[in-house]
């Protein structure tokens, strides 16, 4: 009762994404799949889910040789793939999404709404009897975790034996994750195997019966989840030994400079911040549950979107009208989340993307005329500063891995002469980024802080916040809560603060 891969190889022009990978995924286990970005996880599950065909190798379902011609073909053979991005139609209800493309119709060929709602509810209660989600609401109004559950139920609507979950919790706040974890754990008991890809190693370890590690397109090992530590997993992924991965750079005492940003009585959108001040060299972490407002606040601090009232003192001077251009001119950098939507142009090459913020540095004097040679030099410098892995600066952004895209998204602010920003605002700086790139990005954040930038990081990754912040503010339902100093950092303290528990 399994899907077995034998000698699977995937050759792309110029790169071999998978190199003779053997693996088996049974129908009564959660099977974690880990590796750095570019290790071949996505390619492997694309093959498993039928959307890509390997250049070599064989796939067996229950020991019978099988070929998966397409994602639809894989579905018919019992393998479903829930991708990272989410595939729900935002304006349709949960029930409509669950039965999308398979709607019950009455004899006039018109969708039978009552029957549709009943069938969707039956499916939901069949798979997850103790979950209650309002299936009549448009899914865009539902919490992210509920949306994920709806996607999973939709994937399970056929006769599915193996469910691939690609980063199911990447977009979820910590609190909502636990429900989803329970749901994932319950599936193998019902005869549905799960292939789980996640950047959160603690999650992989907690959920998986077995864990397969990929590195550079090769199968490194498959281990029982209970017999391995997170640190060992990191070592396997990064091919290091001896050096414990969990060994974190001890936080050296840093001295902070003058006050850069001072807010009082801020109201923006649905968010209130009574007072906030930030000094040069300091890293301030913003945390909160989904909808707590910390992401929106961080963004509005740069764009001024939704600003209602309050005073903003920037380096001692009042800034009456916030806007991206004014803040940029004041030496503020903003590195948003969802980089392909907010930061990068997929069809542009690396060089053009890097030049987007400060194109004048690749120009001839102040003429506004671009010099290809200068642009190339600056692009190369930025690429090597951030260790961006690309064939050349002429490679298109959309063809890079997540970690490299993120490095370009940050690197474009440092194109040309490395800037000393007064303030840098990051939202989810390591979203969908592998652990190696994550470490590098954290190192850069600390370096830029030590060079005198005040830094604000809004993140849903509490480990990240604990690792890099000097101070943390938890947002609760649109209000900035009390500050937590570094000495008092702990996961339980963060979670309590996000839930509004003050102690």
């Amino acid at each position: 009762m399994s899907v077995r891969l034998s000698g699977i190889t995937m050759q792309y022009p110029g790169t071999r994404a998978l190199d003779h990978v053997d693996a088996d995924f049974t129908f009564h286990e959660v099977h974690g799949l880990i590796g750095e970005n570019g290790a071949g996880k996505t390619t492997l599950v694309s093959i498993l889910g039928g959307s890509k065909q390997p250049t070599e190798g064989t796939l067996y379902i229950n020991d019978a040789k099988a070929e998966l011609a397409s994602a639809g073909d894989a579905l018919r053979k019992g393998i479903a793939h829930v991708s990272q991005e989410g595939s729900l139609v935002a304006s349709l209800s949960g029930a409509q999404n669950i039965l999308l493309g398979d709607e019950p119709r009455n004899r006039f060929g018109i969708i039978d709404k009552r029957n549709l709602e009943k069938r969707a509810a039956d499916l939901m209660s069949h798979w997850f009897p103790d979950v209650s989600i309002d299936l009549s609401e448009p899914v865009e109004y539902l919490p992210m975790a509920d949306q994920k559950v709806i996607e999973i139920v939709r994937a399970l609507r056929g006769d599915i034996k193996l469910l691939i979950l690609d980063e199911p919790t990447a977009t979820l706040p910590a609190r909502e994750k636990e429900n989803l974890w329970r749901i994932i754990r319950s599936l193998p008991k019902r005869g549905v195997g799960v292939v789980l890809i996640s950047h959160f190693l603690s999650e992989v370890k907690a959920l998986s019966d077995r864990i397969t590690v990929l590195r550079d397109g090769r199968h490194i090992t498959t281990l029982p989840g209970s017999e391995v530590t997170e640190a060992q997993l990191v070592d396997l992924m990064l091919q290091r030994n001896g050096l414990a991965a969990s060994q974190q750079a001890s936080q050296e005492e840093r001295s902070f400079g003058s006050v850069v940003l001072q807010l009082s009585d801020w109201k923006v959108g649905g968010v209130e911040v009574d007072s906030l001040s930030l000094r040069a060299g300091e890293i301030l972490g913003l945390i909160g549950l989904t909808g707590a407002g910390h992401f929106g606040f961080a963004r509005s601090l740069y764009t001024g979107e939704g600003f209602i009232s309050g005073t903003t003192l920037f380096r001692g001077k009042a800034v009456p009208n916030l806007s991206a251009r004014i803040m940029k001119a004041n030496g503020v950098a903003f590195i948003p989340d969802q980089r392909m939507e907010n930061s990068l142009i997929g069809d542009w090459d690396v060089r053009e993307n890097l030049a987007m913020v400060h194109p004048a540095r690749g120009a001839l004097g102040k003429t506004g005329i671009l010099s290809p040679a200068r642009e190339e030099t600056h692009a190369r410098n930025a690429m090597s500063l951030f260790n961006v892995k690309a064939h050349s600066s002429a490679q298109k952004i959309k063809d890079l891995s997540g970690g490299n895209k993120q490095k370009v998204s940050i690197g474009k602010w440092l194109y040309g002469t490395p800037d000393r920003y007064n303030l840098m605002i990051f939202v989810e700086p390591t979203e969908g980024v592998d652990i190696g790139a994550k470490r590098e990005i954290h190192r850069h954040l600390k370096r830029m802080a030590s060079e005198g930038a005040a830094i604000i990081v809004a993140s849903s990754d509490l480990m990240e916040i604990a690792e890099i912040s000097d101070r943390v503010i938890a947002f609760v339902s649109g209000k900035a809560g009390p500050e937590i100093e570094r000495a008092a950092f702990s996961e339980s303290r963060f979670i309590a603060a996000m839930a509004g528990v003050t102690s």
Partner: protein, 330 residues
């Protein structure tokens, strides 16, 4: 990825395969153009004569200028459907001014100002009020059409145009039509702005990802507006040259420049950077349209057949672009 482990021959064949399909895509239009040219040259007697080739150049020069302007609009993902009537507008405005005694430089400046006014109106409707450019310019085009006929009473304006003005559209310099120089000048100007300046880079940026551009500190409203203003300015120039070539101002002379202009851009989008409007691509697109128009004319094909042929060409070009890239225009 481990580069050493994979067999070199295999990689090379893959790379060659990918390279070949890319190459085919990029150059298929150029190959089609060459075949078309050779086809006409072999079958139509008068096609391959100096005077006819110069004629083609003259015919496409205005079209190329309109297309080059539209390339700015497409770069910023803004459509300008009013260009044809802007061509018509300056095509009657400048002759009218000249006939009533306005000196030539001033009249030309007046034409430019009219183009700027149309572009400013379009961009205000689009960026300040928020009407999608496709709709806004469709409407302003209709208004211009009405104005053009109102001003002239539907009649052509001719007689009494100064020789220097007519020379711009009909004269030659060193055996080459003045219009050809104008075309080269404006193509080079457009190419330089789009490919070699921050201005052009930002026009492409707001078209490529408006949100990302604005969060990078780019003034999205300005560059979207600028793209629409350039569309109108180039159309205005084309209109002034067109009237000089025709020797009269005709209220409906500009109409065909809309569809033909869009066609040049679409054809151009199949080459250079497939899916993106480029000035050089547009130039070859105009050449394509020019050769077809001219060849079919010489054969004696009816204008409505030409219209069908052009419609099909646009469909093929857009089909190629849509199939190979994720083209979005609205």
């Amino acid at each position: 990825m481990s580069a050493q482990a994979r067999p070199a021959a295999e990689i090379r064949s893959h790379a060659a395969e990918k390279g070949k399909s890319q190459w085919l895509l990029k150059y298929s239009t150029l190959i089609a153009l060459v075949i078309l040219f050779l086809g006409f040259a072999l079958t139509v007697d008068r096609f391959l004569t100096t005077s006819n080739l110069l004629n083609i150049v003259q015919q496409i020069s205005m079209l190329t200028i309109v297309g080059a302007g539209l390339t700015f609009g497409f770069g910023a993902k803004e459509m300008d459907l009013s260009v044809g009537y802007t061509v018509g507008l300056t095509g009657i405005l400048v002759p009218l001014m000249l006939i009533s005694g306005v000196p030539l430089p001033l009249a030309l400046l007046g034409g430019i100002a009219a183009g700027f006014a149309v572009g400013a109106a379009n961009s205000m409707l689009v960026t300040l009020i928020g009407i999608p450019s496709l709709i806004a310019t469709l409407a302003t085009g209709s208004i211009l059409y009405g104005l053009n006929f109102m001003t002239t009473g539907g009649r052509a304006i001719y007689g009494g145009l100064p020789d220097t003005y007519l020379w711009l559209g009909q004269g030659q310099l060193l055996g080459i039509p003045v219009l050809a120089y104008a075309m080269v000048l404006f193509v080079l100007l457009a190419w330089f702005l789009m490919e070699r300046t921050i201005f052009g880079r930002y026009i492409y940026a707001v078209g490529g990802n408006l949100k990302a551009a604005e969060l990078s500190g780019v003034n999205g409203r300005f560059y979207r507006s600028a793209a629409l203003v350039v569309c109108s300015l180039f159309a205005a120039v084309a209109g002034m040259l067109l009237a000089a070539r025709l020797g009269s101002g005709q209220p409906n002379a500009g109409e065909r420049y809309l569809l033909d202009g869009l066609a040049t851009v679409f054809i151009g989008m199949t080459m250079i950077r497939p899916g993106t409007a480029t000035v050089i691509g547009t130039f070859f697109g105009a050449l394509f349209i020019g050769v077809i128009n001219n060849g079919l004319n010489l054969i004696g094909m009816d204008t409505y057949i030409q219209s069908i042929v052009k419609g099909l060409i646009i469909l093929v070009a857009v089909a190629i672009v849509s199939r190979t890239t994720n083209l979005r225009l609205l």
